[in-house]
Amino acid sequence: MKENVIEIRHLTKNYGKSRGVIDVSLNVKQGDIFGFLGPNGAGKSTTIRSMLGFLKINEGSINILGMDSVRDHEKILREVGYMPSEAWFYDSMKVKDVIKYAADVRGLDCSNEAGMLCERLKVDTNKKIKQLSLGNRKKVSIVCAMQHKPKLFIFDEPTGGLDPLMQKKFFELINEYVDKGATCLLSTHVLSEVDKYCKNAAIMRDGRLTMLDTPHIDDETFLSFYEDDEEA
């Protein structure tokens, strides 16, 4: 039986009086491509940001790769490739410097893997960050998240801004890394991505998480989560 790469137990996070997430529990097994669905403001990013230690959680516990998210924060980040929904870097840096910087901080020489990723995603490494569109910044973010071949990928709305060809290449890369033993948590609004690429899925609404029996749900069921949310 495959081990849990992500174990979230009764996670609660609020922002003062505002609701973040309430009593979220979730397991993601090794080798999974896990789809994380939900409307804007449902708590997907809060859950992800809590996992990465950006947010201080109020209650519950998070275990990543068998390590405690608070105590072993630094060790966890060594094994994680994270791509935020907004791919921002230092404007004045060149793409190649950003990619090398991310590898240097990890103390790794990732030049071969980075070169392969840049070639497949058609990343112009000589451009400055400020010259890039959102889609091209996202491609740089993908390279930074993948070049060190992490055990766990966490992607927060990764395909927004990417053209269809790049979206296809992105999922090809995920499949290749997962085939080699990695695990992937994918937060998205795009049901077709979950249907096509994910093995398991959950949906968040109003800060609470519901596991789906299958990632292959129809549009009506999917939209009902959004409609109910709007009515609420």
């Binding site: 990013s45 950006f54 980040l77 935020p84």
Partner: protein, 263 residues
């Protein structure tokens, strides 16, 4: 941590060069102007030294601006004191908060480094910037003295620059603490802190009732006219500077390790 420090230094090098060259060159130009004004200054020195409280505030009652030492203390002392404090303030107040202000925090803090290590790298970067800034200015002023060929007490000059560096570090320490609680770059606030400290010192030297509390401000122990006339530095002013510096940095570490990061 070394990579973050290197990156911070590279990101700040342009600002360091602009500020150090600007302040250093202004001071250098002021020093060179001394020779052309030397003759007229003898009359001016008498007038300036008899302007009551204002002569005291700017040190002209104790030092003659007709000498290079007095001229440097009153003219370059003010330029360097204000310029270096503003540089220290804007460097420190943006170095942590810029991550959230420019939305680069998610990239930086997803790298495998603890928040403490990132803050430490940023703190060391500010310290290096202040030291290099001071070294560049020392070089400019020293070349100025050499060109003039006039005698300058180097021990007092180096003490003055050392105290200026401590004053810069104190202001930077306070601003570093502010940077850790802010999600936006508060450059205006940083400049305000530097200018308020300067104004407090000038007022303290003009208003007799404030004299006993001058030591609270960072310009008290770095005052050029006192250093160049050999007035002993007040120990309590140095202790308070250390408290503000260490307190600001410690607060930055404690606060930043506990807070949620904005996306």
């Amino acid at each position: 941590m070394r990579s973050v420090l290197k990156r911070e230094l590279l990101l700040n090098i342009k600002s360091l060069l602009i500020w150090s060259l600007s302040v250093g060159l202004m001071g250098f130009a002021c020093i060179l102007l001394y020779q052309s004004m030397e003759g007229e200054m003898k009359d001016m020195a008498d007038a300036f030294s008899n302007m009551g409280a204002f002569s005291e505030a700017f040190g002209m009652s104790t030092l003659s601006i007709a000498t290079l030492k007095g001229y440097f203390a009153t003219e370059v002392g003010a330029v360097h004191g204000l310029g270096s404090a503003m540089f220290a303030a804007i460097t420190a107040i943006g170095i942590i908060s810029k991550e959230e202000d420019a939305h680069t925090g998610e990239f930086t803090f997803s790298l495998p480094l603890s928040r403490s290590k990132i803050i430490a790298a940023k703190g060391i970067c500010v310290a290096i910037m202040l030291i290099v800034f001071t070294a560049i200015c020392i070089a400019f002023y020293y070349i100025g003295f050499e060109i003039l060929g006039e005698e300058m007490p180097m021990d007092q000059f180096m003490k003055f620059m050392g105290m200026q560096l401590l004053m810069n570090a104190e202001i930077a320490g306070i601003c570093f603490g502010v940077s850790a609680i802010s999600g936006k770059n508060r450059m205006g606030l940083g400049l305000g802190i530097a200018l308020v400290c300067y104004a407090y010192d000038v007022m303290g030297r003009v208003v007799p009732d404030l004299k006993d509390y001058l030591f609270i401000g960072p310009y008290s122990y770095s005052n050029a006219s006192e250093i160049f006339t050999g007035v002993a530095t007040e120990g309590k002013a140095i202790v308070l500077a250390a408290v503000f510096l260490i307190g600001g940095v410690a607060f930055a570490f404690l606060r930043f390790n506990k807070r949620d990061l904005a996306s």
